[in-house]
Amino acid sequence: MANPATQAPPIAAGESSRMPAWASLGAIFGVVSALSILTFGPIGVSGTYPRFVGAILRRIDPAYALGNPYLEKMGSLIKPETMLVVGLLIGGFLASRLGKREQAHTEFIHAGETTKGKRYRDAFLGGLLIVFGARIAGGCTSGHIISGITQLSISGLIFAAGVFATGIMTAKLMQKGGR
């Protein structure tokens, strides 16, 4: 991908003759998502979190885990979705190591994130809210938005509208005071 030219070619702002990365990568992702529905089912990530919690609780407090209706409903980790999540970890690792090596670092994304501790706090709280919200709705970006709208589901469209409404508001509000 993107062989580093010795000198950046003087392309007028806008598209070069090549497809922009979001378009080619998006088209490939569309094929991957379609092949998933052809072979095993729509891609989805967030259900793996409660399955993981269930797997741990069944070891440390089996009585509670077996009596919890949600953990029982979600079932065991032996599911294609779990392998998908393992794949995400491997894919992220490989793509960041192969080709041009760009060290991933912790990025500060809001005005209030002045220390790494505050960044980790936002990441933790953000992680908590996305999984909690996704479980209420029954899916996340992959399950509801990508797979959902791909299958033309109304729930995916409603979920996406909710996500972008508060997502845009939160990101814009937290920018205040910075830059």
Binding site: I28, I90, I109, L129, G138, T150
Partner: protein, 176 residues
């Protein structure tokens, strides 16, 4: 065999997310602030190509469709809560796993937050969440059902609409 297909799909998905920079919280924040629309355009392209392919293939073979039910209030409330977390942390449940694979430390905190969120959810599910799932539940409905049109036709239309929008939208948004 399903497990192997899913693993392959996951590796591909993780690599694509990493390369398009969707696992970068700073890039997500720029998209949500509508300064750069590359991730939004990436997602819309994925959906457009995906929907045309799946409903095209469905004319010739059986697909493993799995439509999620539309319980309007719960889906919307869940989306609104998700959006706050998405804007706050810059990760979604999948991109933080990709970020962890890349070696981002904050991604590990996001995953930990997700596990805690799932635990809280499991604890309060029976008493607080179940009623929400019954409000305005229309079941597994699609745009094709609502429009009373053939699914492949709707997929072609929606795909063309999304591709048209991403073609017209700028990637870098100039400040007015």
């Amino acid at each position: 065999m399903d497990l192997i297909y899913a693993l392959i799909a996951g590796v591909a998905m993780g690599a694509l997310i990493q390369r398009v920079r969707a696992s970068s919280p700073a890039m997500i924040a720029r998209n949500l602030r509508l300064e750069n629309l590359s991730i939004i355009k990436f997602m819309a392209t994925t959906i457009a190509v995906g929907t045309i392919l799946v409903y095209g293939m469905s004319l010739f073979t059986t697909m493993h469709f799995d439509i999620k039910p539309t319980y309007v209030v719960g889906v919307l409330v869940g989306g609104l809560i998700f959006g706050v977390g998405f804007g706050l942390g810059g990760y979604c449940p999948g991109t933080c796993v990709v970020g962890a694979g890349e070696g981002r430390k904050d991604a590990l905190w996001a995953i930990l937050g997700g596990v805690v969120g799932a635990l809280i959810f499991a604890v309060v599910f029976d008493s607080m969440i179940t009623p929400l799932l019954k409000l305005a539940d229309y079941g597994k409905i699609t745009l094709a059902d609502v429009l009373h049109l053939p699914a492949f036709g709707v997929a072609l239309g929606l795909g063309a609409l999304f591709l048209g929008i991403v073609y017209l939208l700028p990637t870098e948004v100039k400040k007015a």
